[in-house]
């Protein structure tokens, strides 16, 4: 039978004593479905309008050309490369740190200690701080170091690393938590030290969960623009980034810049770049979910 049929059949007995006829519950169900329809309808509208608007600009020029004064000559090449640079740097900075912190909190810290409970609470608070505050933090930090030009790759990576660190920690902790205690205990029983247990048994078992969480966190960092704006990243960049201290721009920043321009051609460019960004994010999310589904061990 078709999905629709099975969906309806799945729902019908759920409306109550089979064949509910009173208006109340039926209206309720209709409203529930309506909420889903509206939410997905808006999403569909967004995707359709952006794809339609960006179509004329979805050419190879988008990938190979630099921003220009005329929309017919402009491309998002520095933004693409800049995003790769910034995200790669962010990953290198955040992932080892986040995993290490999570391992400590989950495996080695005494949970009853007030200090460690404070850290836990702290991490949860940090995850809810607005992203622009992380931009301010990076701004202050770089000012303190005396860095003049803050729109450099390492500056943006710093802001984004701090932003997603709590997310990586939380995801890693959850992955570690899913590994049964028996695995650890068996390892210890066989004479391994706690560190060996963690390194050789617990962590490898948690890798799929960690990978999923990390990829999702990085995909969030990829879509962020606010912290980078505060660092002054909205700049006309006509070259490829060439180092950690190089100027840069990223896909979201480029989209923001082009959205601000009144000419229709730039809006088309912004739309096309948005499509590109969405495709990349979708791919990352798909990879993360794939890893979760295929490699997640069922204990």
């Amino acid at each position: 039978m078709t999905t629709l049929q099975s969906a309806i059949r799945g729902i019908r007995p759920l409306t109550g004593r089979g064949g509910e006829r009173r208006p109340g519950p039926v209206v309720f169900l209709v409203l529930l479905w309506l909420s889903l329809v509206v939410a997905f309808g808006v999403l569909a509208t967004l995707i359709v309008t952006i794809v339609l608007e960006g179509m004329p600009q979805f050419t190879t020029r988008l990938f190979t050309e630099y921003p220009a004064s005329s929309p017919d000559e402009a491309g998002a090449r520095p933004a693409i490369l800049g995003s790769i640079w910034v995200i790669a740097t962010t990953a290198v900075m955040t992932v080892p740190l986040g995993i290490a912190a999570a391992v400590h909190l989950e495996e080695f810290a005494d949970q009853r200690n007030w200090f460690n409970r404070l850290i836990e609470l702290n991490v949860q608070n940090l995850a809810a701080v607005p992203s622009i505050v992380y931009g301010l933090l990076a701004l202050a930090f770089l000012s303190m170091l005396g860095v003049r030009d803050k729109s450099i790759v390492i500056g943006g990576a710093l802001a984004l690393s701090l932003l997603i660190l709590p997310v990586v920690i939380i995801a890693t902790r959850e992955a570690l938590r899913a590994v049964p205690a028996e695995i650890r205990q068996a390892s210890l029983a066989l004479g391994a030290t706690p560190l060996q247990t963690t390194w050789r048994q617990t962590l490898p078992a948690a890798v799929p969960g960690i990978a999923t969480g990390t990829i999702l966190a990085l995909s969030r960092a990829l879509g962020e623009a606010a912290p980078l704006l505060v660092l002054g990243a909205l700049v006309f960049v006509s070259f490829d980034p060439n180092g950690l201290l190089s100027g840069y721009t990223t896909l979201p920043i480029q989209i923001f810049g082009w959205t601000g321009r009144p000419q229709a051609g730039f809006h088309e460019l912004a739309a096309a770049t948005s499509v590109l960004l969405l495709v990349v994010l979708l791919a990352m999310n798909a990879v993360a979910i794939l890893i979760r589904n295929r490699f997640q061990k069922r204990w």
């Binding site: 740190l97 400590h104 607005p130």
Partner: protein, 322 residues
């Protein structure tokens, strides 16, 4: 993404899993200096999170102290004229706060019904197969970058829907367009956490209710909903905090005019919008303009901290232990 972050990002969802006990000294055997070193390294890594928080507080506080040395706190909090960079400067933050309030309220008005509706559908009515299809779709909604949402708000919602189709008396930017789209953006947050909370309610409660003759709607509204209330409150409060902290959608679509917002069809500049806009200019470290940026940032941080704290307190009050 939302499912992982949201589940653990919600405040008050305490961890219950005990740490693995470390072996007693007599079993430690051979001394391994590498072990101790590694453990210290791990502890340092965890300490970075404390450093980050302290860093945020310090980074916001120091320039703010400079700011409040020049501008009285009462002028800042209660003044209604925000003109920080003009010759006749004024630092009353109320215009920014009203704009933030409007966008937050509008976005909640959209997100709470839609999010709760989706959550109830997913947890109470949908079959496993349907859930497998719908949940990833909801995650896509969460994955759209806010820049793209902002672009959509400006181009489609404001220009096409509000001005062309509905012929509303509004200009190129409006608080309403930004708020509406922000609401859609927050739907997955509220839906995901609420759905988790409702799924966690034991089946026994539902069965008991059905046995007493309630239909599914009554069961949902009168049994499941109250039982999951703490999680649902956490979800809504997290949605509020996301709305307050959202930058790009308002920076693109809400406009730049920092006046007290009385009508959602007019422009407004939120706290985050001001920070983003001011950052586009140039502010010398140590100048009053630079300090203003951080004073508003401090206010924003305090507000989100407060919202978080309220959420934790509410969750603790309404938590049902099973």
């Amino acid at each position: 993404m939302t499912s992982i972050t949201a589940r653990k990002g919600g405040p008050g969802l305490a961890s219950g899993h005990p740490a693995s006990p470390s072996p007693s000294p007599s079993l430690r055997g051979r001394r391994r200096p590498g072990e101790a070193l590694a453990k210290v390294a791990l502890r340092l890594a965890a300490g970075i999170t404390i450093v980050t928080t302290l860093g945020i507080v310090a980074a916001l506080l120091v320039p703010s102290l400079g700011f409040f040395a020049e501008v009285p706190v009462s002028d800042f909090l209660f003044g209604d004229r925000w003109a920080p960079r003009f010759a006749e400067a004024s630092f009353g933050v109320l215009p920014l706060v009203t704009a933030t309030l409007w966008t937050t309220v509008i976005s909640l008005a959209v997100a709470v019904p839609l999010g709760l509706g989706a959550a109830i559908l997913l947890s109470e009515y949908a079959s496993a197969r349907l859930r497998k299809v719908l949940k990833p779709l909801l995650e896509i909604l969460a994955g759209v970058p806010t820049v793209v949402y902002g672009f959509f708000a400006l181009q489609f919602v404001q220009a096409t829907v509000l001005r062309e189709w509905l012929q509303l008396p509004t200009g190129a930017f409006s608080v309403l367009a930004a708020g509406l789209v922000m609401g859609v953006m927050i739907v997955p947050t509220i839906a995901s956490i609420s759905e988790d909370a409702m799924s966690a309610v034991p089946q026994a409660l539902r069965q008991g209710s059905a046995a007493l003759g309630a239909n599914r709607m009554q069961t949902t509204l009168r049994v499941v909903f109250p039982a999951a209330l703490s999680g649902i409150i956490a979800a809504v409060v997290l949605g509020v905090s996301r709305a307050v902290g959202e930058t790009m959608i308002v920076a693109i679509a809400a406009g730049n005019q920092a006046v007290v917002v009385t009508d959602p069809l007019q422009q407004g500049q939120t706290m985050t919008g001001f920070i983003a806009n001011a950052a586009l200019g140039d502010s010398r470290v140590g100048s009053l303009e630079y300090d203003t940026l951080f004073a508003v940032g401090l206010l924003l941080f305090c507000i989100t901290l407060l919202i978080n704290a309220i959420s934790i307190a509410l969750v603790r009050r309404f938590r049902e232990a099973y």
